[in-house]
């Protein structure tokens, strides 16, 4: 049984409960009063990027629209500007809820595969936790080459002027490709993160079983 079918079975017909128990800050969803200030404050929603802006997602969660919520690309348009958080009259931590729903959809394998920010988000986390510090060059290269070698070269060419400007200003170092900045205690970092994942997973599984 896949992770998705296991949770779907447990929370059958109660998607709100599923979000409350499995998503970071999910227990805030029921507090939304549908005023729409979050959606009106969102810079990428202003550009029409969200299929379902935050307050709509909150209502869909309450209405049990599980498939629609978890497969939408909407919350991946979050720029982490925190405008929705500071303006929400009921103080919902909307940015964190959006990240939480996105993370949950990603964990279940339901998030849209080709969504570029989903890809970049995972890439960033792997990049920074690999050595304990971000390798900016490898991070950019990883993004450009996500759709294969040929597209990678094309993307690289399109970014050539930007990259050259940074290299000239000594703000991009090509040698980062062969190592770069890192923490000394990488072993400790890996061990502590592994433990953190274990604890988090066991807490969430316990809620499904409970």
């Amino acid at each position: 049984m896949s992770a998705n079918t296991a949770v779907a079975a447990k929370y059958r017909n109660n998607f709100l409960k599923e979000i409350e128990e499995q998503v970071e800050m999910g227990d805030w969803v029921k507090m939304c009063m549908q005023c729409g200030v979050c959606s009106g404050s969102c810079p990428t929603n202003f550009q029409g990027a969200w299929e379902h802006p935050p307050q709509e997602l909150f209502m869909m969660i309450r209405a049990g629209k599980r498939e629609e919520v978890l497969t939408t690309s909407s919350m991946w348009n979050c720029t982490s500007c925190y405008n929705c958080i500071v303006r929400c009259p009921r103080k919902l931590p909307i940015t964190h809820i959006m990240h939480g729903i996105a993370e949950y959809a990603h964990r279940l394998g339901m998030a849209p595969k080709l969504q570029p920010t989903r890809f970049f988000s995972g890439l960033f986390w792997k990049n920074c936790t690999h050595t304990g510090r971000v390798n900016e060059l490898k991070l950019s290269m990883g993004l450009y080459f996500k759709d294969g070698f040929v597209q990678g070269i094309k993307n690289g060419m399109a970014m050539q002027a930007v990259a050259l400007g940074l290299v000239k200003a000594k703000r991009l170092n090509v040698m980062e490709l062969f190592g770069g900045h890192k923490c000394k205690d990488q072993k400790g970092i890996q061990a502590m993160l592994k433990k953190a994942y274990e604890i988090e997973r066991s807490r969430k599984t316990a809620r499904i079983a409970g």
Binding site: P43, P116, W125, V162, K195
Partner: protein, 303 residues
Amino acid sequence: MSKHEYAFYPGCSSQKGASASNYLTSVEAMCKTLDVKLTEIPDWNCCGASIGYAEAGELPRHVLNARNFALSEQNLPGQEIVATCAACWLGARETRERLTHSDTLMADTREALKEAGLTINEMPEIRHMVEVLIEDLGFEEMAKHVVRPLEGVKIAGYVGCQTNRPFGVAGESFENPVYLDKMVEMVGAEPIPEYEQKVTCCGGALAFSEPEKAQAQIKDIVESAYDHGAEMIVTPCPLCQANVEIYQGQINKRYGTKFDIPVMYYSQLMVVAYGGDAKAAALNGQVIKARRLEEIAAKPVKR
């Protein structure tokens, strides 16, 4: 001994050869003048930034930040942690708040930290460099050191998101923070209080993953600065700085604009106003050269 000592969390982007290395250079020169002593937290790690959310989860993200707290406590006991990067500050501060408010999260964090041989006994204060400047030193103290005022330079204060929301600087409003304008005034330049894009989002990480969306926002930020007659933009955030500066060429291609406006850090303005040369202010780190500042930095100092 310095009156102001802090545990310093420089963050990934400020490292040598990284995208905000010019920020660090200018902060070092600024702190030297102000007698602020920053001691780097040994072996500090990345904060995870906001964008790591797809894989980070809750606990791993907080454990990552908590490792820095533990290292700071172990090596620099009693000192407050100061970050120059908006994302580092926000990430660390968020972790501090969450761990303070949840005993479970705190216990889980301690258990994970044990794996790296670390622990936390006391929760540190997490400060942004601009908080240190405004709250611990104050505008009067900062102004005392100005020996080369940036007279007649019109500067748009672009505060951006993460030094402003969700925590912000105490006493400032989320919609119209004024501290950056006051800093511009403090260095003898001319602020633009009516600059209406001062808290607009630069697109953050979407500048990488979905550039067309981020660049639409950056266009507004730059255009408004021009509309108000600004000669340069100043910001306290490394990602704001990079995003608003380095994509101007691409935006020009996309929109047919002719943007070419320098984007500076507050620390660079201060170093020049404090009599520092172009090197100390890291003016060579600009992709779009700040010629007006270079000229001022080459002038003799009024003593």
